[in-house]
Amino acid sequence: MRRIGCLLAAAPEPHMSQALLEVALAHSPWVEEAGPGLVYLDAAGLEGLFGGERQLGDRLSRAAAERGLRAQVGIAGSRLGARVAARSGGGVTLVQPAEDAAYLAPAPLALLDLPEEMAARLERWGIRTLGELAALPSAALFERLGSEGPRLQRLARGEDLRPLIPWAPAPPFEESAECEWGLDTLEPVTMLLADLAEKICARLVRRGLSADGFEWICRLAGRSLHEGSLALAAPMSEASAIAALLRVALESRPPQGVVEAVTLKAHPQRVASAQDSLTGRSRPSPRLVTAALTRLTALVGARQLGIPALLDSHRPDAVRLDPFLHPHPDPLPGRERESESLSPSGGEGRGEGGRKNPAALALRRLRPPCPAHVTLTSGRPVHLRSAALAGRIVTGAGPWRASGEWWTGGPWARDEWDVELADGTVCRLVHDGSAWFLDGIYD
């Protein structure tokens, strides 16, 4: 007799699936991933191990809780029955064998996730519950809806013959090597890493995978560890290119000691192959882009490059750098033409990337702000002296008072002045309550 268990996260999030799958796999050899926060497992024949379905459900629920997940469990004779049972709440819900159809009968039709057109058609027929669909004559349903009709009806009756699609955790793509003699120069270490990378890449290729990052740990003499990582802008599986990038990354931050053992670990990723447009420009090779970005990272440091993202804060210069990913293909010629005709007078910007104000004035920030000596007359700045700029102030507007995050450990407050110097330079001065700073120059 077929029995299916369902683990349903109370508040599904994409990252939960992995943990739920691991919980399910610890209890059953057949586990299927069905979406964010939804996992099915084969619950048949597990009574001998756990004492019964109730006990199995309780153990699943407890195991999920131990992983910090709030999950509901349902066990029934079909996937749909198990999912509806799990959705009903109450921790663990069991549907007795051969009672799926009766259990599902009052459930709404929406549980089948029907396409809009099919849902509208059944709605017109007055079919609103799974029981009403299950009660329709199969032959007539086939005549009107084709093979999809009887399939849906079987689901509504709790008849689920499709086997579970087994999920298995990805094997660890990790290689290690011990050095008989300690390596005290960089060259043999990079060669060793290249050797390990070649082995890992061969395994990745066999499974049709690529890697979007590598981590290495070098055990040094004296038992200290040197750890490093390499994030690739685009997933790759070419051993020679990866070896070259590992060399660059290692040269930028070499191990400080004699290396006795090396472990290299890859982050595998399945890359969907997609054909670019026939008329579009050719896409740049991920290998070239990744190599350039890795060299760039070695040159300026990983924290010094990325995509700027504005933070949701009023704090001045609240910006973070996100990792830069592989560039998208160049725009199609048609899209280029569309953008060329874009003008503020004639069209609107496209979303966030739209041209909001193409004549916006740029502020060149001084990071960190440059300490300044400002002379005041009647509370207004009249002279500026700093390492970057100096001169008589002829015009100024301010102060613009700003403050925030007083409810946190890092409150800030400042007065801003926009001033024009005698030579025509316009800059922004800031007083943080104790000192003046030159914050930026308008240009």
Partner: protein, 233 residues
């Protein structure tokens, strides 16, 4: 200073506005934007980045002195998700090497190198071969390479040189300024060696080097190589 009314930019940015200038930055060539601070040079660079990123292209900003302000960029319409910001922290050598790497890297429609507030002595210590090398790096590629600095650095390696000059700052408020409204600046072509078949009619004296192609976006009817722009704060 009061601007003569005929030199004010037309409303909007139509074909006669600065769009013509932005479209003239040549792919596969090195261009320069020069001019002192508060002359609108950096604003022009942001407008160029906005043009590239809103077209779906990627732009790299090699920021010599970490002066790039993403808030200003967003206000100028830059799609920040299409920008790779490389902060060089005032180090000249990494900035030059980063620009060289990015100029050779496929996938970037624009590489902007901002040498910013580096002392003149350090900027001028850069060998002239560097600019030739950068020019060679982008030659034949669809990448626009732009250098922003207060003074000209690239010399004859630059195919297009735009000079920015500040005209006046505009303030709001009747008796006493209450808010900084923006800047007026004049953009002028100093050099336009960008078209393979130059028109025999050279630029008038004082207009700079090079020749002008009447069929090009920089031909006649575009303000004769001068643009007066009001940058709004």
């Amino acid at each position: 200073m009061t601007l003569p009314s005929e030199s004010l930019p037309p409303p909007g940015w139509g074909a006669r506005g600065i769009d013509g200038l932005l479209g003239a930055f040549p792919p596969g060539q090195l261009s320069e934007i020069v001019g002192p601070w508060s002359s609108g040079g950096s604003s022009l660079l942001l407008a160029l980045i906005a043009r590239v990123t809103t077209s779906g292209g990627k732009a790299a900003v090699v920021d010599g002195t970490d002066a790039f302000d993403p808030f200003s960029a967003a206000a100028a319409g830059v799609d920040l998700s299409g920008v790779l910001w490389v902060k060089c922290g005032g180090r000249l050598d990494p900035a030059c090497r980063a620009a060289d790497l990015l100029a050779r890297c496929p996938g970037f429609a624009l590489v902007a190198m901002d040498l910013g507030e580096l002392p003149l002595r350090r900027r001028q210590s850069l060998p002239s071969s560097l600019w030739l090398r950068l020019r060679r790096a982008v030659e034949g590629s669809p990448t626009i390479l732009v250098l922003r600095a207060p003074q000209r650095l690239a010399g004859s390696a630059a195919a297009l040189v735009v000079s920015a000059r500040r005209l006046e700052a505009r303030w709001m408020g009747a008796s006493q300024p209450t808010r900084f409204a923006g800047l007026s600046s004049e953009l002028r072509l100093l050099r336009a060696r960008i078209y393979p078949h130059p028109h025999p009619d050279p630029l008038p004296p004082g207009e700079g080097e090079g020749t002008r192609n009447p069929l090009s976006p920089l031909g006649r009817g575009q303000g004769e190589g001068r643009w007066t722009i009001e940058w709004r704060s």
